[in-house]
Symmetry: C4
Subunit: 215 residues, 4 copies
């Protein structure tokens, strides 16, 4: 730990974890569009069909914003780390596994959106994958704290950890609530996922700051 | 805000925004090829069928050059920034949402190119997504200016801002014109999109400089 | 070889090899999800169908963890190198060829999982590709050793080389065993691949260290 | 041009060109596998069908090695540059356009491989795209030379330029020859493309050096 060249080597490995993760996030978020089927209708019905496909766009939007929010949390977390260890790399791999898997439940939710009984299964299945993504981020943040992966810059450390925890924990609870609601009313479940995605994506603190500054 | 290590941290976050955005741009631009269907004809008709598919190649070309031009503008804008904030990250995410979505309207335009009434809807739908991409870039540039995200290197700042604005504003107006024209004559609309893509992609100033230098 | 700027140039080329390889690994690992077909059943049968599809999820999991493990080995190997040469770049390209090819045998294995005679062929074909990936990593590590691509930091060098060798050689033997077993009993073969993926992905040494620290 | 901070800014822009290009190369090379269709035969015919599909694997191999070789040339060229300009960025975009387009002619060649008259068209169409990729690399190298984009490190400059030129020019001629041969005998044409890919991928000089060192 006291060799002069060691930190540089560890920092490099963090760079590749970021590059690989950014790649998977970027691909998963972009592959979502392949799930949207081109309507097979005659020209005069195209506009109506495009409007009729709104559950597909909604599923696209929720998945896009959720992966985007997870990417931002991941970015903030890894950014705050001084170095990473082998366990963190594997936990990260499991996070990416669920993230790369998301286009599949998204497709299922789009396709069974107009089917009363299928919709129920689809919404819960989808919610479980979203839940696992948030859960893995929390596990990673906790592991980083236990193993002292954060730098010695204590103020930053606490700030970032708190940020990740306070922003993720409500998400976790809300996904469980959304999944449970989805069993009763699938549409209500999806609405909850949508609200979580918007909540995770909107930078409440910064927006407040901007308004205050101008007001 | 006065800690000596802070700028390095912020700069790092900018790096990940670039890496993630480059990933999404690169994937969206490369996925476009998947939309081109292999002709299902006998061998002797292959050449004719390939030639007959020109609207598909045209849609491919327009989408490719537009994403390419947006990438170049994005690259110039982020490059000129000193640091980014949370709002900029979210605006960037919305830009990427439209960018990653583009393969879908591209596919629709390719498929309804020979259908009189469908073509109209397809061309306007496509134009709206192109418009949103340009609009988001402008919003990002404006936010960066309002929040002083540009560095203190004033000359560069003004130059870059001006460049982004002067090059994007005509694009914005042209997309609205192209969409409106598309309602009357879809082919005219597509021609406008093509001209915008070429205009955005050709480095007028640099080409002028090269000719002047040699002439 | 004695110019002062040479090392910087070589280091840069290593960066691009990493960026390109990370891209291919990330895309191959994310494309796997496209192989999972959405069930075409009525809503009430969706849950049963999703459960019935377990071989598809298993194939997804094994392929994901194998690519993930290869990425981690690749990361550790290239990280330990001081510079790379042209032969190393080509060997790397062959590794990526098998890695990018993996979604194809994965798809075949998923589709022939319930077909007695097809399963046998699928499992062996799949195992050969996994074997080639591990083999190429070993060839790359050996070439790096023969050509002195590792830095002068001898302790690190030996440690890393040993790590790659000791972790890969059993994998190589196990893939051959798994393939041979797959000829007799396809399910047994897949189980072996699964165990190898878990073995490669679990950081035995670090887990031991964590337990020891707490116990 | 004499400001002290300018070089850093230009270098950064080169980094994003590399990141974006690496992304497109990596995705194009990995998407190729999606073109390989899973055989729809009964289990006992799977082995025979996999063997029967050899033109598909050949097309995969040739396309993979060609993109890999172009990536290596691109890497060597950009690495040798001191900075880039706007024209170089656009030329690069056109190179990427052909590169990202390659999966389409690859698919056509795979599908028309057993069709006497279709094969002729497919092989020539495929060769034209390969030719354009090589041509764009040459145009980029030439532009870089004319505009003094190479650094002042003259020896390196000449060495690299020469390398790109001497290795690409024969490729260019060979592609034209291959395309012409493809008109007479498609199989001969493909063989020529295969030989060019192998020629571009094998590091003749380094292999010679290795043998000499050991012999």
């Amino acid at each position: 730990m006291a060799e002069p060249h060691k930190p540089a080597k560890i920092k490099h490995r963090k760079n590749r974890l970021e590059a690989f993760s950014d790649g998977v996030f970027a691909i998963a978020i972009t592959l979502l569009v392949l799930e949207i089927a081109v309507p097979a209708v005659r020209g005069e019905e195209l506009l109506g069909e495009l409007a009729h496909e709104w559950p597909v766009y909604l599923a696209y939007f929720v998945s896009f914003m959720t992966i985007g929010a997870v990417w931002m949390e991941h970015s903030a977390l890894v950014d705050a780390l001084d170095h990473i260890d082998g366990v963190f790399m594997r936990l990260n791999l499991v996070l990416l596994l669920f993230c790369a898997f998301l286009p599949f439940p998204t497709r299922i939710m789009s396709e069974y959106a107009q089917d009363a009984s299928g919709e129920r299964v689809a919404v819960v299945f989808y919610g479980i994958v979203l839940l696992m993504m948030t859960l893995m981020l929390l596990v990673m943040a906790r592991h980083a704290q236990n193993e002292d992966l954060f730098g010695e810059d204590l103020d930053d450390e606490h700030k970032e950890q708190a940020r990740v925890k306070y922003q993720l924990l409500p998400g976790l609870v809300a996904y469980i609530a959304g999944g449970a609601l989805g069993l009763l009313s699938p549409r209500l479940g999806v609405t909850v996922y949508l609200l979580i995605a918007i909540y995770l994506a909107i930078p409440l603190r910064e927006v407040t700051r901007l308004y205050r500054k101008r007001g």
